[in-house]
């Protein structure tokens, strides 16, 4: 997608982006965001319903898990999984199972190295 108006990448018009702070601190966070927005834009997930679940996940964390370090994107992930389940797109047991398989890979394989453009995504066994 291209912008209707080209703005300078650097020079006088650029500083607001440069002095901003990254919205994502780890690749999985931007990946999660991208997956969510892709489904929203495709009309497969309702944004308002998702937002309602995000509010709920944040509120639940704030009421309970004080010993855990705050991570916004983990709350987002909970809300996303709830939304996928509610929409009948992906069920939590499927996610649990594949996560377990991926986590069982040899040491070093579950560290995302920046981008995964050329990353072969494993799928569930025997299907």
């Amino acid at each position: 997608m291209t912008l209707p108006i080209r703005l300078d990448e650097d020079g006088a018009a650029a500083p607001p982006r440069e002095n901003g702070e990254l919205a994502f601190s780890a690749p999985w966070e931007s990946r999660l965001f991208g997956l969510t927005m892709a489904l929203v834009e495709a009309g497969r997930l309702d944004w308002e319903a998702f937002r309602g679940r995000l509010i709920g996940a944040i509120a639940a964390w704030e009421e309970t898990a004080r010993d855990e370090e705050w991570n916004y994107w983990q709350r987002w992930q909970e809300a996303f999984e709830d939304s996928l389940g509610a929409a009948g797109l992906v069920a939590t047991p499927e996610i649990d199972r594949l996560t377990g398989q991926l986590a069982a890979r040899p040491h070093g394989h579950d560290h995302p190295h920046g981008h995964d453009h050329h990353h072969e995504h494993p799928t569930e066994n025997d299907e």
Partner: protein, 198 residues
């Protein structure tokens, strides 16, 4: 247990990888489309848009009036406000003056004017900012380096599903001779959230 530290068996990164694999396998998303979408939000859409809007408002009183009247149509005049925020009904722009300082927050989650500011910074989403912006905005601003005179009224705007807010900061002194491009370069993201003055 062995001495081996736990290797993130259920780490959010691994879980996200599983989510993507499942969604791709089911034909619900394509990884390349997700790449493009993330790139669009990270690179094409950012506070630079908001900065441009502010610079236009500083230099064009008629545009400023339209912007304050109804934000979304005004930013569309500049070619912004594509489908990024299509689910947001309204963009409301609040103007700082000598006597009023505006601050934007989303107390419930992280609603933010994506169309003009891109994605919110981490601190905007933190429980501390979300709570304190409403409870003790003046003290919060002071801690962030913005000491407001007691004469200045602080107005806090809590974003919602229907309405997103953006602050129109005051034009810095000594910038009379500058054009839109140069002025755009002076506008920071934080000033459009209201935690900074220019």
């Amino acid at each position: 247990m062995t001495a081996d530290h736990q290797h993130g068996n259920d780490s959010p990164a691994t879980r996200t990888e599983a989510l993507e694999a499942l969604l791709v396998k089911k034909g619900l998303v394509q990884s390349a489309a997700v790449d493009a979408l993330v790139e669009r939000y990270e690179q094409d859409i950012g506070p630079l848009r908001g900065a441009r809007v502010v610079a236009e408002a500083w230099t064009d009183p008629a545009f400023r009036a339209r912007l304050l009247e109804d934000g979304m149509p005004a930013i569309r005049e500049l070619g912004f406000g594509d489908n990024t925020d299509a689910h947001v009904a309204r963009l409301v722009v609040k103007e700082n003056t000598d006597s009023v300082h505006n601050l934007v927050v989303c107390t419930l989650c992280s609603c933010y004017p994506w169309a003009v500011l891109g994605l919110p910074p981490a601190w905007y989403k933190s429980p501390a900012y979300r709570a304190r912006a409403v409870r003790e905005p003046r003290r919060l601003l002071a801690e962030l380096g913005l000491d407001l005179s007691p004469d200045v009224e602080v107005r806090v705007w809590d974003s919602s599903a229907e309405v997103r807010y953006m602050v129109l900061p005051q034009r810095p002194r000594g910038t009379d001779g500058l054009g839109v491009e140069e002025l755009t370069g002076l506008v920071t993201r934080d000033s459009m959230i209201g935690v900074e003055q220019l």
